[in-house]
């Protein structure tokens, strides 16, 4: 069997049903096998970056590994942003790249790039396979590493002559990597210490992140919080890990977190960090971060612990197991005083906006929430709309909010939505986009039209690179340097509805508040392909609350209505 077929057979052993990518000279043998294989659905994208994001969206929506495939050189370099995005958000993606023949490697051959060198800092691990006999084992290892421990992208670089070489195929049953043994079970002594701290805490807060979702621990988190009556704040990546509808929910924390979540962190006496990593967007100015709080940190990655914030009780392991043990040892408590205090903050500064006649972006998201009954998978691009999508949609389940949190990649959301739809074909998938970000991978409308993928793209079109404009507004005296996307004045470019129609998609333009619901309904009902709604929203709306970069978490700017 040749290497190309061994690759596909190995992928099928790993349960791969769909792959995203683009062909090229040094992966033609693999494509020739794909041509003959009816069990893998290959989705031809229009850009390799989008292929990587689709694999990522597929992975985030399902919990399975997503797979993308690209040719050597430019194909591989185009994957890099997608890999970095997946790396920073710990998403299991396996990327396969063609490479020039082993005899040419290192010669600056046509379409040669040092793919393993370029991708080393943005992958959890990578391989250059130079002997076809190593291929099956490499695929097995790649999937194991991508999915286990703290997940992440793994790349396999496969020279074209290895794809053509023959060997017998046998897929290994087990993986044995002596340098790779993620620690799953938490240390019981540490868990007991944590429980004691929790039971004696008067003002505890759970600060949960994407790790809870990756570990499949949402229900365990809920049980734990409910038993101890402990309020829960989520990171952007943790959105969906705990229901927004719970009275214990504080919403998101950090730079654009709620007033009450940030306040609760700062005034708490015990922070229980679960699958989160004290990112600078979350802690604010470090020396003023939660000064009175003891910190428990549960994480599977030891390098996350005490990286930025000194932790009192570290517990390394999978949060699902640890939460289960911790719940058993946690005593029920009422903590009335603490909840009253939080309640008063909630009342004082809820997340809100001006509910007037203008077409405001927050209103659009509220209506998407209502019309999908909070049941859609939401993906976002990066910018203001991303924060509003977090604030104004109601998330109650994990894997329903897909967003590039760590790298903040504009161009992520739309292809991620496509990947999510492949992974969960019965779900409504809506991408909440900005007009800037959408243009970074808008070409994938073609992929959706051709394959009849009914994702809805809601463009909150402010004709600006809005988030940067907001910073210029607040911190640079409104010097709007190169953030306007339209012609001078305010004519918006492009007309997204027409662009969509040109691709053969549904395109709707919405200029008034009264048209919002009708347009969303129409788009949601359309099942023959993608639908783009261009909402011409208020142009200078700002995201609040906001903790300016470098400020303490409770130095919060609130909207002045």
């Amino acid at each position: 069997m040749n290497g190309a077929k061994i690759l596909l057979e190995s992928l099928k052993k790993e349960g791969v049903k769909v792959m995203f990518g683009i062909c090229g000279g040094s992966v033609i043998p693999v494509f020739d096998e794909l041509y003959k294989d009816k069990n893998i659905n290959f989705v031809l994208t229009r850009h390799e970056q989008a292929a990587a994001h689709m694999a990522d969206g597929y992975a985030r929506a399902t919990g399975k590994a997503g797979v993308c495939l690209a040719t050597s050189g430019p194909g591989a370099t185009n994957l890099v942003t997608g890999l970095a995005t997946a790396y920073l958000d710990s998403v299991p993606v396996v990327a396969i790249t063609g490479q020039v023949a082993t005899s040419l490697v290192g010669n600056d051959a046509f379409q040669e790039a040092d793919t393993t060198g370029i991708t080393r800092p943005v992958t959890k691990h990578n391989y250059l396979v130079t002997d076809v006999k190593d291929l099956a084992r490499t695929v097995k290892e790649a999937f194991h590493i991508a999915r286990s421990g703290r997940p992440g992208p793994v790349l396999i670089d496969l020279p074209v002559d290895v794809q053509r070489s023959d060997t017998s195929f046998s897929y290994p049953e087990k993986v044995e990597i002596r340098g790779y043994k993620p620690k799953i079970k938490g240390h019981m002594k540490q868990i007991k210490a944590a429980a004691a701290a929790i039971n004696s805490s008067k003002r505890p807060v759970i600060y949960a992140g994407g790790g809870v979702i990756l570990s499949g621990a949402s229900e365990h988190l809920k049980k734990f919080a409910d038993k101890g009556k402990i309020p829960v704040t989520l990171t952007l990546m943790g959105t969906g890990a705990f229901p927004d509808t719970s009275p214990l929910s504080l919403g998101m924390l950090g730079m654009h977190g709620t007033f009450y979540a940030n306040k609760a962190m700062q005034e708490s006496d015990l922070i229980i960090a679960v699958g989160s990593r004290f990112d600078d967007r979350v802690t604010g100015r470090l020396c003023d971060f939660a000064k009175e709080a003891k910190i428990i940190h549960i994480d599977i990655d030891p390098t996350s612990i005490s990286k930025t914030v000194k932790v009192d009780i570290p517990i390394v392991g999978d949060c699902k197991n640890i939460l289960t043990s911790l719940t058993r040892l946690t005593e029920s408590r009422e903590r009335d005083k603490w909840h009253k205090k939080i309640g008063s903050w909630k009342k004082k500064c809820p997340i809100t906006y001006a509910r007037d006649d203008k077409l405001r972006p927050q209103y659009v998201i509220e209506q998407i929430d209502k019309l999908t009954r909070g049941n859609a998978v939401i993906t976002t691009e990066v910018g203001q709309h991303q924060m509003w999508a977090q604030h104004f949609y109601t998330y109650t389940k994990p894997r329903t909010f897909l967003s590039s949190g760590g790298l903040g990649t504009m161009g992520y959301g739309f292809p991620a939505a496509v990947g999510a739809r492949y992974g969960r074909p019965r779900k409504t998938v809506v991408c909440i986009a900005g007009d800037g970000s959408f243009q970074m991978n808008i070409q994938e409308l073609a992929t959706c039209v051709v394959n009849k993928i009914p994702v809805v793209v809601a463009v909150l079109n402010n004709n600006f690179l809005g988030m940067v404009r907001q910073w210029q507004d607040l911190f640079f005296e409104k010097r709007y340097s190169h953030v306007c996307l339209g012609k001078s004045g305010c004519e918006r470019v492009p007309d997204f509805a027409k662009v969509a129609q040109a691709y053969g998609a549904m395109g709707i333009r919405v200029e008034k508040k009264s048209q919002v619901r009708g347009a969303i309904k129409k788009a949601l009902e359309y099942k023959d392909g993608p639908a783009v709604i261009d909402f011409l929203t208020e142009r200078e709306e700002n995201v609040y609350p906001m903790v300016p970069a470098g400020a303490a978490l409770d130095e919060i700017m609130i909207e002045m209505a």
Binding site: T116, G117, R120, P121, K124, H125, L128, I145, I177, R178, G179, Y180, D301, P302, T303, S306, K307
Partner: protein, 161 residues
């Protein structure tokens, strides 16, 4: 406070592994004093000895980050360990006939070796730990050092293992 630690890692003896490790150091801004690699008693395992400087926090991260790499089999920070540390240095100094006797005296005190002699230079080989090599280098400076090369520190634990 800046500390200097010697970290010893057993790694897979494969192409690309050195790049993964040195890349990790440069990406995270760790300061390496020296890095020495060589194969061990098992041909598929190399030992990497890394001398790093940083505060407690940084050094803890270095060990953890190394451990995280699938190609790294074990990592040990030798901070509280009794070890034998060695570094080998070759140094070529100016040595005309007049200076040679003095030089040879220093060489013998340091249990160093003259390994090459030319018209007006001499190459000396000396082995030892960081302090010894530094002291020797300082003593050589007045003779004008033409060239100098070091292998970097290698180390093993003392005692029966």
């Amino acid at each position: 406070m800046k500390l200097r630690h010697t970290i010893s890692a057993l790694v897979e003896n494969r192409s690309g592994v050195l790049a993964k490790i040195s890349g990790l150091f440069s990406a995270r801004g760790y300061n390496i004093d020296s890095l020495a690699v060589g194969v061990t008693e098992s041909p598929d395992v190399s030992r990497m000895t890394i001398v790093v400087k940083g505060d407690e926090n940084v050094l803890e991260q270095v060990t953890k980050q190394l451990n995280k790499l699938p190609d790294v089999i074990t990592v040990k920070d030798f901070k509280d360990t009794d070890i034998v540390e060695r570094d080998l240095m070759l140094v070529r100094v100016e040595a005309d006939k007049k200076k040679r006797p003095e030089l040879l005296e220093i060489v013998s005190v340091f249990r160093a070796k003259v390994v090459d002699v030319a018209q007006d230079t001499m190459m000396i080989e000396v082995t030892g730990d960081e302090d010894k090599l530094r002291a020797f280098t300082e003593l050589m400076r007045p003779y004008s050092i033409r060239e100098l090369a070091r292998t970097g520190v290698i180390a093993l634990e003392r005692g029966g293992k």
